[in-house]
Symmetry: C2
Subunit: 122 residues, 2 copies
DNA sequence: CTGCGCCATAAGTGTTGACTTATATGAATC
DNA sequence: GATTCATATAAGTCAACACTTATGGCGCAG
């Protein structure tokens, strides 16, 4: 399964948002998602498996519970694929970047402009 | 259809890569993708429709042909959703980014970022 | 060792979407 | 206006995946 397919599901996106705030047990994640999406514990467990198998999360046993952590590998793959496109919508274009954007295809290193914080939700 | 679902298909990702190099006619895009993936003209046309309807591409008539252009809206949506996660794998933390990261998380993980400076590379 | 939370897996079902072939639309050419 | 090239749409098929219910495995308390 491709990294983009993993992020295609809204339940998995929500799980990742929750994990981004810190490690959580499967039970905590399940409770939240079951409430928001109206699906069963089994469905959430299957989603967590997909996240694990694709480098988006990891889990470790903590007594009878399983603690889940966010893992960067999956999103890094997505980010890497998107990187060459980012020049199209980064508003602060240097002269060099403008020339690249005009289609001459010459690539050079150029530091990215810092991102503004944007309050956006899914 | 969600922006992540659009990028979930490898044919559509390839079409976007081709469009990133500059505008192309449907025929040129079709020829390339048909050759690489072994699908029909009809299938490619349907993928182009998905790209159009979700803000990833636009088309204009140019005589009997249709010229396609890359559009930023779709990927911008993807990029916006990913923005809050990016702090997890960008080791180069500016003061601003550090503050954002601190403000978001109530519980922080023990892991500290190394304070070595690193040259950017691809 | 028995029973009970916690979580994962098995097995089956329905829906969605990517694909096919066939056909329609529309602009240029004769 | 008929033909042809370029592209889109129609209609149907098939497989993948997200979901369900049912059950299994594990850690721990009694």
């Amino acid at each position: 399964m491709h990294a983009f397919d993993v992020l295609g599901d809204p339940v998995r996106r929500r799980l990742l948002e929750l994990l981004a705030d810190g490690d959580r047990s499967a039970g905590e994640l399940t409770e939240e998602v079951v409430r928001e999406f109206g699906i069963t514990q089994s469905a959430v467990s299957q989603h967590l498996k997909v996240l694990r198998e694709n480098g988006f999360a990891s889990s470790r046993a903590e007594g009878p519970r399983r603690l889940y952590s966010f893992e960067t590998e999956g999103m890094r793959q997505v980010d890497d694929w998107m990187a060459p496109f980012r020049r199209f919508w980064t508003q602060r274009l240097s002269a060099l970047e403008t020339e690249i954007a005009r289609g001459k295809g010459e690539r050079r290193r150029q530091q990215e402009a810092p991102d503004e914080k944007k309050d956006d939700d899914d």
